[in-house]
Subunit: 133 residues, 2 copies
DNA sequence: ACTTACTATTACGTTAACGTAAGCTCAAGT
DNA sequence: ACTTGAGCTTACGTTAACGTAATAGTAAGT
């Protein structure tokens, strides 16, 4: 059923627009664990998905150490549920943090809007918008 | 009218929960320019506001160099409007970026929700929720 | 006069997240 | 046989954003 197509390191580097070094570094840090065929790395769809999560995490400002925690949590959630309560706590912590970040972003966006309209006003005034019908 | 209350470096450090070193570093980088009384730094409300913006920028994952750009834009917007069109372009760029970031955050929040409900299910099953009325 | 509390400057140290260069392997094409 | 291309390891270099002394001035309290 699952043909399990495999990717080379360059495939992923191209797809996600990152360097080979970055991918190797992530492996070195234990964030991904590609198979080996001889010395060459081979990546599954699962590796690809993890890489995607890693990069998304980076974009919202998480450190690799934090991303590793989260990836571990995914694993944990897959395997057992013995520590699920602890996991829930961690998740809600993370949620709070993210919601704060979103508020920050919203605040910045609002300020940008204000700045923008200021600019427009100034430009309109200077180009004499209401003086030229 | 404006009594222009002044703040010491420790005031701001306490208020924003950062170190003295951090504040001095920001000055060193030209992000703030407190007055001096002798050697001692004295901060106005304006410095305070800038600091607040800096920290907010950091929280949403901007580099100090980018924050400086933005602060400069604020200045620019205050003074002249000659380059306002350029400014508008920069602002809309920044907006796009921020909106992407927000989408990332939303995606992560959604995933967390799913993980959470998975956890709850598992816990319910293990504690035999529907077996004990 | 002495200590305590802030503040300052100078300068080397640190951590994260890769960049970059050197040198080697191995399969494929010409 | 030779070169090109992709991949590998090892290892030193780099940048940002502060941390962490070490040392010193200075005003206020006792």
């Amino acid at each position: 059923m699952s043909e399990e197509r495999l990717f080379t390191i360059s495939d992923l580097a191209r797809d996600f627009d990152i360097t080979l070094r970055t991918i190797r570094f992530y492996e070195e840090q234990g964030l991904i664990e590609p198979q080996r065929e001889g010395r060459q790395r081979l990546f599954t769809h699962r590796d690809r998905a993890r890489l995607k999560l890693i990069l998304r995490g980076k974009r919202i400002g998480l450190a690799l150490s934090e991303i590793r925690e989260i990836l571990d949590l995914y694993e944990l959630a897959r395997d057992e549920a013995s520590q699920s309560l602890k996991l829930l706590q961690l998740l809600s912590d993370r949620k709070l943090q993210l919601e704060e970040q979103r508020q920050d972003i919203d605040a910045v966006l609002a300020e940008i809007d204000i700045l923008e309209s200021h600019c427009r006003q100034v430009i309109d005034t200077m180009t004499g918008k209401d003086a030229t019908p």
